[in-house]
Symmetry: C2
Subunit: 272 residues, 2 copies
């Protein structure tokens, strides 16, 4: 209704949890929540008695392109109404007291939500108002609590940050990105043979220029050079660049505009 043309074409991705904001106070935060949900592939948003009414244009402005989530959001007078059609409801609760309830970490919650959603059950997660958090009756309506492991000296989490962590964990729970890769773009990782080819080139030039002229020390110096170049994953493109670097350095310093250096210049630099 207040959607804009610049909004991303967001839609539900599979069966994903409903985010239920209970008594949210600031429209800015509701917008930031929508953005965080979009980041993590969530779509369904329900608002229980937003303090300043609904809709509010500020929310759309602060959603930075995630307006479709706000367009589809529904409002409810009570938590009971907002969760009536759900099968499982989790509630975020930083410091639960006097409740007897299973407690999940954010990561544990994401794994369970993925498992429950895979069974075609409808799930939701309750987030309380910015200042007070959920009250005891709201907590009682949930079957499980979520408590993020965070610095106990500073547990106060902004509402959108709280949704961000859960949305991020939700996405990550189904993500198979390797924890470490090498981005090589157009090139590829060099083979040990290609690396050896470069090292032979380098060592031949270092022999020619006199850098390795101390024969008793030569094996150790060659190993030191080798240690450095063997350490990580070199790409084929980087090896070509390094071949060029060695070739050009070995030709010696040239004035711009001249094609060739003298033999004397080459000797002077190679030996330094």
């Amino acid at each position: 209704m207040t959607g804009r043309d610049g909004d991303a074409d967001l839609r539900p991705i599979g069966n994903s949890p409903v985010i239920v904001l209970v008594g949210p106070q600031l429209a800015d935060n509701i917008g930031a929540v929508a953005r965080a949900m979009a980041n993590g592939g969530l779509f369904h948003l329900r608002l229980v008695a937003p303090r300043d009414g609904w809709p509010q244009p500020k929310a759309w402005r602060n959603a930075s392109g995630a307006g479709r989530i706000l367009d589809a959001a529904t409002t409810h007078d009570t938590v009971a109404d907002a969760i009536a059609d759900l099968h499982r409801v989790l509630a975020t609760c930083p410091r639960p007291r006097h409740v007897i309830k299973p407690v999940l970490t954010a990561r544990g919650a994401a794994a369970e939500l993925r498992a429950i959603c895979a069974r075609d059950l409808r799930t939701g997660v309750l987030f309380g108002p910015e200042r007070a958090g959920l009250d005891n009756d709201d907590l009682a309506a949930a079957d499980t609590l979520i408590r993020y492991p965070l610095n106990p000296a500073f547990m106060s989490l902004n509402l959108a940050q709280a949704v961000m962590v859960l949305a991020y964990e939700w996405w990550t729970a189904a993500d198979e990105t390797l924890p470490r890769t090498l981005m090589t773009n157009e090139t590829r990782i060099a083979t040990k043979g290609e690396l050896e080819n470069f090292l032979s080139h380098l060592i031949a030039e270092l022999d020619a220029c006199g850098f390795l002229r101390n024969l008793p020390k030569r094996p150790g110096m060659v190993r030191n050079i080798r240690h450095f170049f063997e350490r990580g994953e070199v790409t084929e493109q980087e090896l070509r660049t390094l071949h060029g670097v060695v070739t050009e350095l070995a030709r010696g310093r040239r004035s711009l505009g001249r094609d060739e250096t003298t033999t004397d210049e080459r000797k002077a630099q190679g030996g330094s």
Copy 2:
């Protein structure tokens, strides 16, 4: 310098990464970054050429008690100056192009940062300006990139949200909270013997009131009841409550002010 009395008594926790904001635009965001850092147990903040100068009171207002981090933050003219004393520098980069660089997930980065910090090396993580992200020279200054796994249809992450995810992963990488526990507070999980004791009480009362009078069906009905109560972890306190519920229900409906029900009333209710 603009610190307030309400600020949390934050200080560095061990050897933790420096957060380097490169060209941050909004003081609000710098404050929100400090808050997110505090949530995840980070402390060291460096600002490279903040657009609107520094310090700015708005940042302290938006830090919600994490002002000590802003008090201790330093400003720098260049990335090179901000990272000169660090041994390893990672850079966040949602869509790296034309770079040959190791790429970590946020979780992979947190694990590596923990491992590097444990070796007493100083680490830092670069975050780019709100709109543009880091430029190619800044990326080249980093030894490793971090790319969060997020919804590819909506990768645009608010600056403070980006710091939140990393700070959360940093904290979580050293956290040993079990993914699922049962919060029992003053009570404890009941033993199977205690549960059996309650079930015997319940079944005896159900026999007495006639609920189980259909003898051929009785074993199946008892098992159904048993299935429900055996499903999860019941606490000792909950069993005491349930004992009371059964005892009181079995006594039958009473008018307020009268102590006893008649035998007829009891029979009528028990049999229904």
